[in-house]
Every structure is written in C-alpha cells, then in structure tokens.
C-alpha cells in the first residue's frame, strides 16, 4: 500500500503551503511596521525611549504563525529598523550606549530563539497532523478491505467456510449453502463430518490431523458431501488452518468447489472410453494411427489382440507389421496402403493374419489418409477388424451351397427318374388297360350279334352288364389320364377367351342333348392368361357339371361371369341344379369322391379334382358355394404366376 510512504515533507511545495508561507512572511513585515508605528505613537509618553521590548511581539507572532523563516524575517527587520531609527545615534546602525546595545542584542537573540522554538513546534505539529492523517487512511483501507472481504466471501463462486477445529461450521457463504442444499443457520448447526460421505471421511480426517500436526500447511482433496435432500455432490475441498497467537489452532478456512459436473463428465468420458474399448473387443475391431511426419504409430489394445502381439511392445511399424500377414495377403494389403500413401485413396482390404503362435485369423483392414496444405499425405489412420467368424461362415455357406446344389441335382435326377417311371406307368394305363376292356365289350357284342337267338334273355342281360362295366372302366381310365395330364407337361400360356370357349362347350352339350332346355348366360370378353388346353379342361368339367346337375330342373340355368373381390378377378360358373350339401364340401375336390349316387347323376368323380389341380398349378384357388337343391357356384382365380411345380406329380394316382 502506498500510504506507508506517504510522509508529508516540511517544505511541502503545494500551492496551499506556498500561499501560507507568503502570508506568514507578509504578516511578519506588516507586524514589524505596525509595531514601529505603535512605538512612534506611544514614545512621547516614555521619553522617547526605544521601547525595543515592543518588537518581541511581531517576532513571536510571526514565528508562531510561520515558523523559523517568518520569525527570523521579523527579527532581522526589527533589529535593523530599531538600530537605525530608534537606538541612538539615530539615523545610523551604530549603537552608542551599552544598555541599548544589550537590549538590542537581547532582542535579536530572543528573536532567533523564538524563531527556532516556533519552528520546532511547527514541525512537531505537522508531524502530528501527518500521523493522524495516516491513521485515518489506514482505518479507511481497513474498512474497505473488510467490505471487500465480506463481498468476496459472500459473492464468491465457490463455497467458503470457516470451520472450528472440532468440525463445526462457524461461518459459511451462501454459495456453500447452495452447494450443500442447507439453509445458512441449518448448516451452522452441523459439523463437516456429519455431512461427509462415510467413504470419504477418513481421508479428510487424516489430512486434518496432518495439518494440525503442522506437517502440511494446506491440503486439497476431492470428496463427496451429502446434501440435505440426501443426494451426493462431488466437491474439491481446499483447507488451510489459521493459528492463534498462542500457537493453538483457531479455525480452518475451507474452500469448496462443486465439481459434480466435472465428475460426471469424467465418469461419462470414462464410461465412453470403456464402452469404446468394450465395443472394440466385442467387434474384434482395433484402430491405429500413423503419423508419417515423425513415423510414430498408435495402436488400440484390440489390434495387439488381433495380431497376437505382446502388449508391452510398441506398435509394429510398417516394415515390421508385414510379419503378421501371409505373403499373399501382405501383397494385396501393401498395394492398397502404397496407393493410399501415393494419392491419399482410402482402402478396404481383406487379409489373413498369421499370429506369432501360428494361429490364423481373417481381418478386414480399412485405412484413410490426411493430407497437408501441399497435398502431401502426412497422416494415415484406420481400423483392423477380425472377421474370422464371418469368413468361416462364408466358407461354410459356400460349402453348404455346393452341397445343396449337389443335393438339388441329385433330387432333380431322382425326380426326373420318378417322373419317367410315372410317365411309363401312365402310358401303360392308357395303352394296355384299354385293350382288355375293348375285348370284353367287343366279344360280348360279338356274342350278341352272332348268337343272339341262341341265348336266354337272362344271358342277354349279363352280356349287357359286361358291356356297361367295360364302358365304366374305360371312363375311369380316361378320367385318370386326364387328371394325370393336367399336372404334367409344359404350360404354354397365352390369352384364352373363356367366353368363346364356354359358348362353344355349351353348344356342344346342347347338340349332344338337344332335348334339354337350358338358359345360358355367358359374360362376354372373359379373358385369362393361361394354357388353352388346361382351360378347356377346366371349363369342360365345370360347365359339364353344371349341365349334368341341372338336368332335373325344368329349365336349366347356367351362368358364366367374372367377379372382382379384394382386387382379384374370379371366374364363376353358376347353375340352378341339384347343388350339394356344404358339409361335404371338403370331399368335393378329392378324386373319386362323389356327393351324388350313380343313379341320380352318373360320373366317376374325377372332374373337380382335375379342375382343382389345374387351378392350383397356375397359382390360383377354387371355391364352391352351394345348398342342396339350390344350385351351385364354382369360382376360381388364376394368379399371374404359373409356378411350374411338379409336386402334384407324386399325388397323381
């Protein structure tokens, strides 16, 4: 502080003191003159005696008011003027009489003494004044400092406290109250031990005792306090101890900084580092950096693990690292890296690693570069990922695929063999089963023709039955063949006009049974994309059924129409015939299942099975709706796709 050197000098050259000096000197001159005039006025009464004693008055006053200078000035003026004017011989500075000389001399000596004394007094007074001023200033500064401390203490961004040696909070600032969540007076009723996290207390107390033992002047620790609401807060605590003059501890000054945010950030960072490490370990992924300017390499832990390199070693440099690869893999990888070094191209390259212990791993190495302002590659960084599992899986998939392909080929061969056998069988059925039938009907016919007169009537009936049975058998064979054919052979798809087809078929039925009265209503323009031969089979069966089962109606009605449901087009054939009981609907499409007796409606039960196979083969569905005696509706769809599945082959017969 500057005030300590602020001693006020005696010849203080301030404007004020200069005026004061001028005034003191003027006063001296004026008083001497005034005294001279006064002596003149009163001298008559005193026999014209010099009355030198009078002149002590201006001298004393001047000296007292102005100190040595004005005092001596008044003295000299008085001495000079009296010697010249008043002390005989007048008009000269000489002094004739001894008594006068003594008196004049006393005046001079007294004047000097008074001036000196006054000066001393003056100086002492000035010193006193300066001292007082100093004291004032000190007091001011003290007050200021006090206020400043108060402000600092209260408004500090950190918690500050004075704590008694026993741990009692003596004085706390509001920030500390904020941090700990207590009100001021609540906190003062507590000790720091009471609100310190139990795990952190012993550390704190050890430091306190070391400080009390004067081993350390201050200490700083990170610890947790328990806030009023029970939550924990991380604090960076700095403590110093104030001693009393008698060398006993007075109080601690504690500074508490809330580092919760920093701790959380640290924890988050630690967690994220741990997560990264764990992720790298789980992913078998390591990362590396290569600073080309100083040739330094950085590897993450996982790279060591992947290469099987001792973690205490430094990262292998570019030359050394090639020992971890098979020659072929290193050739590919080095080529990629060299390209990257040359023009900064990023790379990705699979490579096979050979560890020092001889075990092998597959990795994918990825790298990228950073260029400086001149476009020179100065930095490379990248990852190494263990893809051994994937590679093995890929190999396994390749192997399985090959196996599967072979199996498919085998199965295909088996299937085509089975198909061939089936073909032979069907061929045999179509060819060889017919001849005996024809023979049966032929010879029974020949018997009737050639020997009819010789048979009794009953024999005639038996022969007729043989003929009927052989016809029935023939129909069955035909049905079977049709059923088999509908799932064999290539589909040759094109546009099929179902309206025209239906008209033609109905006309054919009508020609064969001209006596039937049937109203037909065929929607025009019904076209589907399908195989014409198959569609003829479908429509022949559906219309044939409609025709057959409506035979008992007075006027049969057959309708062919398209119906759109759920965005799908369904072709429907409806009749007003005998219909069927829906309870048996599930049997409808099974081969040789019939819902009517032969004497009601003859048939072999193969038509709808054939229709369903054809529809299914073309990815469609067929549904039937009916009620006994109220006709039936058969609707089918044909999806756009025609799966060339041969699976129905095995269900053929």
């Amino acid at each position: 502080m500057s005030w300590q050197q602020d001693v006020i000098p005696l010849g203080h050259a301030s404007v004020n003191s200069r005026w004061q000096a001028l005034w003191s000197y003027s006063l001296a001159v004026i008083l001497v003159i005034a005294t001279f005039l006064l002596r003149d006025a009163v001298s008559v009464s005193f026999n014209e005696r010099p009355l030198l004693i009078l002149f002590m008055f201006p001298i004393i006053v001047s000296a007292l008011s102005g100190g040595f200078g004005p005092g001596i000035t008044a003295t000299l003026m008085a001495a000079a003027s009296t010697a010249y004017f008043l002390v005989p011989p007048r008009g000269s500075f000489g002094i004739a009489q001894g008594f006068d000389l003594f008196q004049w001399g006393m005046l001079g000596v007294n004047g000097v003494l008074v001036s000196l004394l006054s000066e001393a007094l003056h100086r002492s007074r000035l010193r006193e004044k300066a001292k007082w001023r100093q004291l004032d200033a000190t007091q001011n500064l003290l007050q200021q400092s006090e206020r400043r401390f108060e402000a600092n203490f209260e408004l500090a961004a950190v918690g500050i406290a004075m704590v008694a040696p026993n741990g009692q909070w003596l004085r706390v600032n509001s920030k500390l109250c904020d941090i700990l969540g207590y009100r001021h007076e609540e906190l003062l009723a507590l000790t720091f031990q009471a609100i310190t996290h139990p795990d952190d207390l012993s550390d704190d107390l050890i430091q306190v005792s070391r400080m009390l033992a004067r081993e350390i002047p201050t200490y700083s620790i990170e610890k947790r306090y328990i806030r009023k609401d029970g939550s924990l807060v991380w604090i960076n605590l700095t403590v110093s101890l104030v001693w009393k003059p008698d060398s006993t501890p007075d109080y601690f000054i504690s500074v508490l900084e809330d580092i919760e945010a920093r701790k959380q950030a640290e924890a988050a960072l630690k967690a994220s580092e741990a997560a990264l490490k764990s992720a790298q370990r789980l992913a078998g992924l390591g990362n590396w950096e290569w600073d080309l300017r100083n040739g330094t390499h950085q590897w993450s832990e996982e790279i060591y693990a992947i290469y099987g390199r001792d973690p205490v070693l430094p990262p292998a440099d570019y030359q050394e690292v090639q020992k971890y690869f098979t020659p072929e893999s290193w050739r590919d990888l080095a080529l990629a890296v060299e390209l990257g070094l040359k023009d900064g191209r990023a790379y990705e390259c699979d490579a096979e690693v050979v560890r020092p212990d001889g075990s092998r791993r597959w990795i994918v190495a990825r790298g990228d570069t950073t260029k400086d302002a001149d476009g020179q590659v100065v930095f490379m960084h990248g990852t190494v990922q263990d893809i051994t599992g994937r590679k093995h899986a890929e190999e396994e998939i390749r192997r399985l695929n090959a196996e599967l392909e072979k199996r498919v080929l085998d199965r295909t061969a088996e299937l085509s063999h089975a198909n061939q056998e089936l073909d032979c069988f069907v061929y045999a059925v179509s060819h060889d089963l017919r001849s005996p039938l024809r023979a049966m009907s032929g010879f029974s016919q020949a018997l009737i023709e050639d020997f009819s007169g010789q048979f009794p009537e009953e024999a005639q009936i038996y022969l007729d039955q043989i003929d009927l049975a052989s016809r029935k058998m023939s129909d069955l064979i035909d049905g079977l063949l049709e059923l088999s054919r509908c799932t064999r052979g290539e589909l040759s798809c094109g546009e099929v006009d179902l309206s025209t087809l239906s008209d033609r078929l109905l006309a054919e039925f009508s020609r064969n049974e001209p006596d039937r009265k049937v109203d037909t209503d065929v929607e025009s323009g019904l076209k589907v994309h399908s195989d014409a031969r198959m569609m003829e089979s479908v429509m022949r069966n559906l219309l044939g059924n409609a025709w057959k089962y409506s035979a008992h109606a007075d006027i049969g009605r057959i309708r062919v129409y398209a119906e759109h449901r759920d965005g799908v087009c369904r072709i429907c054939v409806a009749d007003n015939g005998a219909g069927f009981d829906m309870a048996y609907a599930s049997k409808l499409f099974q081969p040789f299942q019939r819902l009517h007796r032969q004497d009601e409606f003859p048939g072999i039960g193969i038509g709808l099975a054939t229709v369903q196979r054809i529809v299914h083969r073309q990815g469609g569905v067929i549904e039937a709706q009916s009620e006994s005696g109220k006709g039936a509706v058969f609707c089918f769809t044909l999806s756009g796709s025609h799966p060339e599945t041969e699976k129905s082959q095995s269900e053929l017969l």
Binding site: H431, G442, F443, S444, A446
Partner: protein, 146 residues
Amino acid sequence: MSSTKTILLVEDNTQDEILTLRTLRKANIANRIDVVRDGQQALDYLFKQGEFVGREGPDLPTVILLDISLPRLSGLEVLKRLRANPLTALVPVVILTSSDEQRDRLSSFQNGANSFVRKPVDFNDFAETVARLGVYWLATNEGPPR
C-alpha cells in the same frame, strides 16, 4: 375288291386281332390280311427275311395297320426302319393303337405315319372305325405308284 391289295396287321393282342379281322370281314373286305405279332416279325415280313423268306403274295401290302406297343421292336421303331429304307419308304402306314398320348401321335407323324387312329374302347365305335379304315385305304386311297 382286288385281291392284289393286301393288309398287313401288326398286332400282338390276340383279342384285338380277332376283333379287327371279324370287323373287316363283316365290312365285306375280302382282301388278304396278313398278321404279324411283333416288330421284328413285321420287318421280316416286309423285307422277306427270316421266317418270311420267299413268302407268298405281293412284295408290299397296300396298307400297314401298325400297333405301337409291340414286343421286341416297337411300332415306332418299325416305322423308322421302314421310312429309312427306300423300298418301304412310301408304303402307307396307319398307326392303330390304344394310346392317345400326344407324344405318340407326334412321333408317329414325325416318323412318317400316314395316319394315327386310336382304337375306340367302345366296340361299336371300334368296329366302325376299323371298317372305315379298311374301305378307305383299300378302295378310296390311291397309293404311291409302284
């Protein structure tokens, strides 16, 4: 009908043979009808070889009624051989079979059959068909010049 016109029936099924012959007879076809019972016999007959060396009758029949499924050599094989040989390349061949397989029909015509007739299962139909065949090939059709 002229007796120089003959029919060769290649049929291994005796019942069919009897019924065919009966039908042709009933249709008043009196021409000579020779019957062989397998493919090899048919070739031997046509090329006058084996058991048919020096057989009677014309060198070639007017028409051959050829079944497909035959012992030893199938009807289609016989047909191929006939067509491959200049001597028999032009002789009319009617495939008369129980099969109605498309591929039989196809390969029959591909191999040069003149006609493909499915034996109807119904005897009446069969009789009618065979009778018509006989009349057509012996009387109506003008065969290739010899």
